[in-house]
Symmetry: C2
Subunit: 179 residues, 2 copies
């Protein structure tokens, strides 16, 4: 047995999402934390040894809350809305891809729509990464009752090893359910 | 943000245990799997970027089953037994330390006695590794009712990120509770 020299890079899937705090499509605090942790603790200086696979799952706007003030007068308006969602998702992925590019780590990124926990596990089956990194808000049991946690579901159900990176306590927003 | 160049190595705690199958203190299938996975997928060729911390928790022989045929005639006999346990633990750690030494990865190893899940979480608090790797037998829900799983407990309770590496299906022994 020896440590791998060269060969195929280790493929790390990183599930990322948008911040719930700002209107602009910033990465969530826990997504950024998981990404930075992966670079600092796993990739380190071995930039050619890893490939990062960023998956962003957009949740369909079920209750239309985000579009409360929108007026839909034609089929075109719906297309505009869908187009805007797509742009937001791409902005988010751009953040991660840009940083990888700057430090010379290979990566791929894509957007899917649906229930994040289900889609992430489905994409793990399809892509077969070596492992999955997910950010976690590190909520207590009481808070979890109301929000459910994607990271816990993935740890239990994803078909690959999963490492959940808890958000730094110092970065927790006033409402810990925010991220 | 840039990938870390040099600096402190990433400290990975690896919880290891003895095989339940043979009398000789071989490493369990899942411990070896977790170790080999860590070298192949995380450490790779970056041998100076990581330090492995091997913790083996010996379970006190509560029902004395292993010593059924032993005769205890003097305090010395108990000391002999304890000495033998210690030797077994050291043999186990030697396996991992030897491999690390061969490929040039820094490591430390130590033995503790007690309930593995409690002791592992306690040692995580004390040592503060960057993350913990534990092997897992990958048992189904029915099997778990009877044996409990150290890896699940650590994923929930350890004070650092945890990655559980499931045993390769091809290496599962006839009785999946064995390891």
């Amino acid at each position: 047995m020896a440590a791998a020299e060269g060969g195929e890079p280790t493929r790390i899937m990183v599930a990322v999402n948008e911040s719930t705090i700002k209107g602009y499509p910033h990465a969530s605090i826990s997504s950024r934390g998981a990404f930075e942790w992966t670079l600092k603790k796993i990739v380190r200086s071995n930039t050619s040894g890893f490939k990062l696979l960023f998956l962003h799952v957009q949740v369909p706007d079920e209750d239309g809350f985000d579009d409360m003030d929108s007026i839909f007068a034609s089929p075109e308006d719906f297309r505009t809305m869908k187009h805007r969602d797509k742009i937001r998702g791409l902005h988010l992925l751009e953040y991660f891809v840009k940083h990888c590019h700057e430090i010379g780590v290979a990566c791929e990124a894509w957007v899917k729509k649906g229930d994040p926990k289900e889609i992430i596990c489905h994409e793990v089956k399809r892509i077969q990464p070596d492992f999955l990194v997910v950010g976690s808000r590190g909520l207590g049991p009481f808070q979890k009752v109301f929000v459910g946690t994607v990271s816990e579901f993935c740890v239990k159900h994803a078909d690959c090893p999963v490492i959940a990176i808890k958000r730094n306590a110092a970065q927790t927003p006033q409402d810990p359910v925010d991220d």
